[in-house]
Symmetry: C2
Subunit: 326 residues, 2 copies
């Protein structure tokens, strides 16, 4: 089956079904765009074509200079580029000076089911299908994972071009522990649901990362202060990688008070886990647990490690507390 000759199950030619957007860029607006870039050599131009696979590619979250060479090559060469919003993609292409040679189609939460199947079929027929979202790494809080799952199920190869993500950027600048963390996606919009979700996370020991809208961040931080405690450490990151980037870090009550005046821009919230900022259980408290395991035949060192892990305490502290309590 060749790429050009592939058809959908209902007999429609794929190119018609997918309806490529008109992607003529206005050369007058961006002088110099017609010049070939350093990677427009014949060898580079062939790299990302006809690979018969889905490629999930990260796009910049703020600065266009966070685009990678691989991303530029892929967008220029892929047989199909599926974008969450084709207008946003068009803006990105202009900013990074790339002309796509393949078809550009939309792929978002409203058409993900049908479109995922079509995209996998194109890849199965030999096409390189690039999947991008408006910003960041596809499949983090967006429909990217559906096409990856469909491809896996169909035996079609899936690869990814790594790059920007607000999740890890926020985590890095937060200065909060990152040896373990969890990503919770967008905070629930409604107060009741939001508070219940936070209540379920009250014992979470990992650092937590949330996305939130600027309209609701003040209410969300106030709820967080109530449920996680006024002193729990939080970092509110806004406009990451953009010129007005700002990271506000402090106790929840303090940061909630700052946010009450209004916050603008794209927001990512990084919240310390329970053990990092408000440890109520000490090594001495858990020493009896260790000794119990030892009495049951476990080695002291192993028992101390296990109990330390369970309570998010330093292993050495638990070991020493157990020794002292023996």
């Amino acid at each position: 089956m060749s790429t050009d000759g592939s058809t959908l199950p209902d007999g429609e030619p794929v190119d018609d079904a997918i309806e490529p957007d008109d992607l003529e860029l206005d050369g007058a607006e961006e002088p110099g765009q017609e010049e070939p870039g350093p990677d427009d050599t014949p060898a580079a131009a062939a790299r990302w074509r006809g690979l018969g696979r889905i490629v999930l590619a990260a796009t910049p979250i703020g600065s266009s200079r966070d685009a990678t060479e691989n991303l530029k090559d892929l967008l220029a060469q892929a047989d199909v580029v599926a974008a969450e919003d084709t207008r946003t993609l068009r803006q990105l292409l202009r900013r990074i000076g790339v002309h796509p040679s393949g078809a550009v189609v939309s792929y978002h939460e409203h058409n993900e089911r049908e479109r995922a199947a079509e995209l996998v079929e194109r890849a199965q027929a030999g096409a390189t299908v690039a999947v991008v979202t408006d910003a960041g790494m596809p499949s983090v809080s967006d429909p990217g994972f559906r096409v990856a799952a469909a491809a896996q199920a169909a035996g079609v190869r899936v690869s990814a071009l790594p790059g920007p993500s607000a999740v890890l950027t926020a985590l890095a600048v937060s200065g909060l522990p990152s040896d373990r963390f969890c990503f919770e996606g967008f905070v629930a919009r409604k107060g009741g649901e939001r508070r219940r979700a936070f209540t379920e996370l009250a014992d979470e020991r990992r650092t937590m990362v949330f996305f939130e809208s600027p309209h609701r961040i003040a209410a969300t931080l106030a709820d967080m202060a109530e449920i996680f405690g006024a002193d729990r450490e939080v970092a509110v990151c806004r406009e990451l990688t953009k010129p007005y980037e700002e990271v506000r870090r402090g106790g929840l009550a303090e940061v909630a008070a700052w946010a009450a005046d209004g916050v603008r821009g794209e927001i990512t919230v990084v919240l310390a886990g329970v053990s990092a900022s408000a440890r109520t259980v000490t090594a001495a408290d858990v020493a009896p647990e260790v000794l119990e395991s030892v009495a049951a035949g476990e080695r002291l060192k192993d028992a101390a490690s296990a109990v330390a892990l369970r309570h998010g305490l330093p292993k050495r502290d638990v070991y020493e507390a157990a020794l002292a309590a023996r």
Copy 2:
């Protein structure tokens, strides 16, 4: 306090204390390196100098074409580049054709306490201090977070250059749910500790991401199959973004059997959460919980949402099951 005149608390000049590595690149090996790159314009050259901040920057995990323009500029211009392993950095610099104009120093788990304080002091004195690890986003499972925390505490600005991360790349190619996920870092080396850690994750509903060494992956998958169940979906990703990239997805028992023959390369494991592959609780099972909340005065829709969230079930299913049970 100027950058050049800054001293450590003990009176040592910073540049001596930090001992810049010899970073002469061998021009004969890599012809053309002495040519200025497209960003070596005077304006670009000044961008990342003297910003008085710590910049945590992601580096490629496999393909050097995953380096961003911002990374190249930063490494070329930063006043100090702190690298997990300066030899690995030197290799990267050669591959991406960048000459650092600042000092290059080491910053790793064995010197992180002292070095973090020195780096923050350099930034406080006006320097741009870039922090990179061998691969990926600093602060994910490495000492990067200590320097970020120290900077936050000292009131020194911290920013990050987003880029490659094995965590999100693996998550994307796995095709497993990614609306919520957790990163668990490196799997414990010892069998007992590893099995206890897995046992604590037995009820985890989020998709889990682990790093593991190729030497232990077979034993780890066998333990996982025992604790999470033979059919729990897993994706073992090796050599992500490299030419021999491979993603093996299937039930734990099946993938463990494949790994028993030996696996090479850098490994990232993505494991489905409990609800995604082995749901034991159905919407009908939890309907009474919803009705209890309704009896206590809550709206059916809100109660159904909360219970669905708690059990990782689709809201609509729980709502309909509760309606039917009423």
